[in-house]
Symmetry: C5
């Protein structure tokens, strides 16, 4: 059952997800250029690049999802504009995600936010609705707020991974700790929940990013949910090939 | 499907909407005179002026909608009186809008407000309810609040347009950036979602306003949602004719 | 349809409503004496005085409504004790109001309050529930809060009246502006929604109050929703007779 | 109908209720000793003492209600620990109260609290749910908060009583004003709603307390809802007998 | 009925529960090592150690519950990261807990928190949902916040226990007061509700912890809900044996 829910997004237990919700989370002028501002370009990168899943907000999924890669609909979201305690609320029902062909839903939780309780509780309902319909519930867990000094420390990243397990996520997306050994503690904390590294901003070189991915895989991670490091890349297919090698070997 | 939802409001893919919710948003003494305070005058302007849609709050629609122009019911609203973080909450159900003959619903989102999450979440529900009934969901997206220095910058307007896409709007109403080139970035960001310029306050001359409209059309915008520049105009039908020319050509 | 909803409360398009929710809104020691603290006294005044409607909170309606005058149940309420932004929340369902024989429901909106959004949204639901059951939805609209310097200015009173129209009220109760000409602007802003003057505290003389009523009627208002100026009056029936003359003529 | 709802708790129109929710409201160490900490002791006092009703929170009712005295379940509650504006929220559904054999429900409203609106609104729903099932809805009305200087003044106590009437309570529990004459104003304000005096902390002598009860009865009150003055009493049955004499005469 | 709900977790009226929700409440780096970070290790300890119940969050239950020990699902939770008034909100529905084979649900209430009302109210709904399905509702009651100086005083711990009774819990988990005599007051306050001591952080020696357990049992407590003192122990089975002796005797 559990395994079946993540199956659509895995190859040999590993996964390579293409994330593209930055238009809402960061705004088009921060992350996009003339090419990657077009969702069909990114849909195409996902399909040709051998990604095992693609992550869209509902509006992008409704218009651009081609069906060629399994779909994860991000069901909550926020912009980068508001100040104050971070909170991201549900903008898409699980039923609606199903109607668009999604095999999984993504939900961001800002651990440590003064509004953490709202997100934990809402994720609880999303997780149950997703599981009733056979969809994977994937938690983006980002500790943030006044209480969080270093959001890539071993302690904090493993806390994020563990929260994903405890709350019933099928997979969790967390930041990289910087080295494989400390990341393996987060993988252990997740206790079988698939751990994906959040790609983050474009790394200075492909190699720098691939090193992180290799560290994740050595640590027992499931793979990576990457966005900017692929679709901001001059050669997205080249980068996709390098990622496939790093994640699936061969 | 998607195209069909906006079809009632378009002619050759372009649209010219007459907005008239200023009585609630700004108050009658700010925007109205003896003529345009009367909704039947405005309904008449819409019908005779060749507008492809008219935007009313529920109460005005219930009493004055004549059926001669496709109807968009604004389903949230606020007055200009409260201080503090801007928030506009739902005042009309989608079911009720349908019962009045609406083919679309409008919803304002103040991106960047401390209460942004409430509006994103509520729009999510409105959008799904509208689509279930075949209505267009149109987002008025206005970045506002302490975090927003310049609400007509290319960055901010394109963020608004993109948010509309990501959240599943069929069309988005945003402010003009001031020039066609920067506005074309917002149109690109919307990635196929119809982009309407918000008319805003009466421009000093008709020509000044028409220049903006031409800029929008050159940028690939769908048209304009205009209010004061038409019904505050000495010659609303003259202005409507000029707008038709600017938007639909011919 | 619309007209039918207010019909029970009108005679020749005019109305004279007796309001008696001050026990909750202000407290008995502020407004009542040994006579008018008794709701049956007030019910009697309404019946004998030729009022076209009587306004009670649910508890008073349940115990004292005699059926001799059409009933409006006030479905939200607050006391005068709390400090902070004014807010009045629903205390009676529309279904319950119907079960008591009500032909209309009243709801107070404090425009300009920091909690305005809650009331606008709740009134939206009340209005739809009322209309589904054929009841009139009457909005008491009182601008209040830090943003409102003068709550009887032409601008503010007309804003209140217009808000009633836009939100779908069948009638609106607002304060008097002080003169007939400025009040006529509020009547125009309401665009056909029946405008009732809120009686307010007991005027120094009957004549002073009647002058206000005459001003309202000259301005095209529908009548008055009066409380203290009648049931605090030494001679309530005498005052009722004078009001009938001022409102219905003859 | 109305009369029938309070009938179970009255004898000749008068009532003597034993209240025992202090374990939650004040804590066991504040109010209890080795004897009265045991709910079966208090249930026994109620039965043998001729009380016409007993007031328990749901958990005590589930375990200790013997069926020998009509039951009122207190459906909201709070502890004395939190600082800030007082608020007491629903902890027991009316359906659940019915399932335990309750003939009435009690609900505390802190008039004047910054969270007054939440309680007024929730009581509105409780009252309707109770009446649908034939149960009495009894309001504990305690003005409290920064705005309330003297919570036993004639003005404030009568405001509490009146609020009970307006909100549709079948009976109201309020504090004593200190003398019969001023309390009779509160009884008048309640206009037929049964007014019970809240017993409050143990009085220095039985006589001091009985004098209050006599004052209440002379003022036309319905009786008393007493707790500590009975079950903290050395001789609860003796005190019960004195109360019966004071309330029912003979 | 009542007894039946706790029966699965008791042996001769006593219980020994293994708690393992610290991964969410404290984070893996605070409480776990390479061994006990693995839920299957803890599940195994529970089964082999003769525990009468095991406490998991939903995600751990879904993946690691073996069915060998009766299950309590913790249905609310929070992390230790947010500052401000403590609040823990529901993350798992009672229906979902049932679907995982739970015979009981656990819910934490922070008495004294500025958000106490939210938790009391939510526990009220959880308790009724649990009882409808025959599950035990177990309250973790932890007084906390500015108003609570000493959370292990006799007054505070007995308040916690009593709150559990009043709110309808079948069992309550509270901190130890430090001595058996004062703890017996808490047991009395609970009036038959099973009182479990919360194990708390690892005690310096096994004997120190066992002394507390013996104090609880002498005071009439039902047993202990222990976590770190067992699964952080070098010899969990040895410690389990000592606990069985202390709780069940022999």
């Amino acid at each position: 059952m559990r395994r079946e829910r993540m199956e659509p997004f895995l190859k040999g237990g590993k996964g390579m997800l293409l994330a593209y919700d930055q238009g809402l989370e960061h705004g088009p002028s921060t992350d996009f250029d003339d090419r990657n501002i077009d969702p069909s370009f990114v849909m195409d990168v996902a399909a040709k690049g051998g990604f095992t899943g693609v992550v869209f907000q509902k509006g992008v999924a409704e218009r651009f999802y081609s069906g060629k890669v399994p779909l994860i609909v991000k069901v909550n979201g926020k912009t980068s504009l508001p100040k104050g305690e971070p909170v991201s609320r549900q903008v898409c029902s699980v039923e609606h995600a199903v109607s668009m062909g999604a095999k999984g839903v993504g939900y961001t939780i800002y651990l440590g936010s003064g509004l953490e309780a709202e997100m934990l509780s809402e994720f609880g309902r999303v997780q149950e609705a997703a599981h009733e319909r056979g969809l994977a519930a994937i938690a983006w867990v980002y500790p943030r707020g006044a209480a969080v000094q270093n959001d890539v420390s071993k302690e904090i990243v493993s806390y994020a991974a563990r929260a994903g397990l405890e709350l019933g996520a099928d997979a969790v997306k967390v930041k990289y700790t910087g080295d494989s050994e400390s990341f393996s503690w987060a993988v252990k904390a997740a206790a079988g929940v698939k751990v994906f590294m959040s790609g983050g901003p474009k790394a200075p070189t492909d190699e720098a990013f691939l090193e992180q991915v290799q560290g994740v895989m050595r640590a027992g991670g499931a793979g990576v949910a990457v966005g900017r490091n692929v679709w901001q890349n001059q050669d997205p297919q080249g980068m996709a090939a390098k990622l496939r090698a790093a994640i699936f070997g061969a």
